[in-house]
Assembly symmetry: C2
DNA sequence: GTCTATAGATCGATAGAC
DNA sequence: GTCTATCGATCTATAGAC
């Protein structure tokens, strides 16, 4: 039978789930050992920097996923409108239609804000820049593109907060659909 | 010289600041004693339920502030447009133009989500309902008012996330201004 | 009411056997 | 690599003097 955890990267999905579920500070090593099925010894073998390195690795993987599935298409030289559409598809998929929160946004609001400020800032800055880039190439005025991109990313993040607060994942889809429609309008 | 802390309610602003700064789980009693200037004995005298009761009391005070300054005007029988304008003024004031996060939203995303779910849900549900009510009375279509209210509240929350993530409070004002402008349009 | 002292549990992290 | 045992620090909460 194949091992569930064969290398460091195999632990990242479970780690990400724990941090999303409990935040950074409240994600104890006990919870992490249960979620990953690894003892503390193994965890510290993979992550000598401890919990902080675990969270940082999760953020790096998230950034990598968005870079490949969201940022790169938005920055690609052609098809900006199609890239924007696929961005919303990717967002809906990644956030499980509102049932999953954005760990980066949660870290920005909660604890770990100081520890991971650079990674959090880079993630949002690149998202806004990539979307603004696509908006400009799709014919938008340069001056308004950044503002529109900020408003869109904020709308997505706010939709996650709202869905989580209301305990109603469908609020995410409803709200994001409005954000997307506004972006498609001239 | 008058005492700084004369009764339970006097501790709430300092408590709120600690929870906003560190989240619920990472706000230790040591941090709380430093912020309030009270020893543990005094804190447990005021809040026999411990840290959970402290956070719950803070949420109740936040809800009370919004009820008086935001929800009630929105639900008042007249001047819905004026109430909406003053809502945005109150929001900008309360969140210090993006320099202060929304503790309710942060709790919704992070730890304490289970502990305070009812209070978090009530806060957002009432905000959306009150704003939708004002929108209907200002001439909006009933079917679209709730969606527009959700989008607006989400936009405000997302603006807070974005401003915090980018470490740029001015992103809050820029984004909220766009949300407000959209609401004022026919 | 407010304090200090401290209990009892849990934390992150380490050591060392295998 | 993975485990168990355990360290010292820190946590929430309580007890009791004043």
């Amino acid at each position: 039978m194949p091992r569930v955890v064969a290398e460091r990267a195999d632990t990242l999905p479970a780690l990400a789930e724990v941090f999303r579920e409990h935040g950074y500070g409240a994600a104890s090593l006990t919870l992490i050992t249960e979620a990953t099925g690894l003892g503390k010894g193994s965890l510290y073998h993979f992550f000598p920097g401890g919990k902080q390195e675990m969270a940082s690795a999760v953020l790096a993987e998230i950034d990598s996923w968005f870079a490949a599935n969201v940022f790169a298409p938005l920055e690609a030289p052609d098809e900006p409108r199609r890239a924007i559409t696929s961005m919303f598809d990717a967002v809906d998929q990644y956030f499980h239609s509102g049932a999953r929160i954005c760990l980066v946004g949660a870290l920005a609001l909660g604890d770990g804000r100081d520890l991971f400020q650079t990674q959090v800032q880079d993630y949002f800055a690149r998202w806004v820049a990539a979307l603004a880039n696509a908006l400009i190439r799709s014919g938008r005025d340069r001056r308004q593109a950044t503002g529109l991109a900020e408003e869109t990313v904020a709308g997505i993040q706010g939709a996650i907060v709202l869905a989580r607060a209301l305990d109603d994942p469908s609020a995410f889809g409803r709200t994001v659909a409005k954000v997307q429609a506004r972006l498609a309008a001239p």
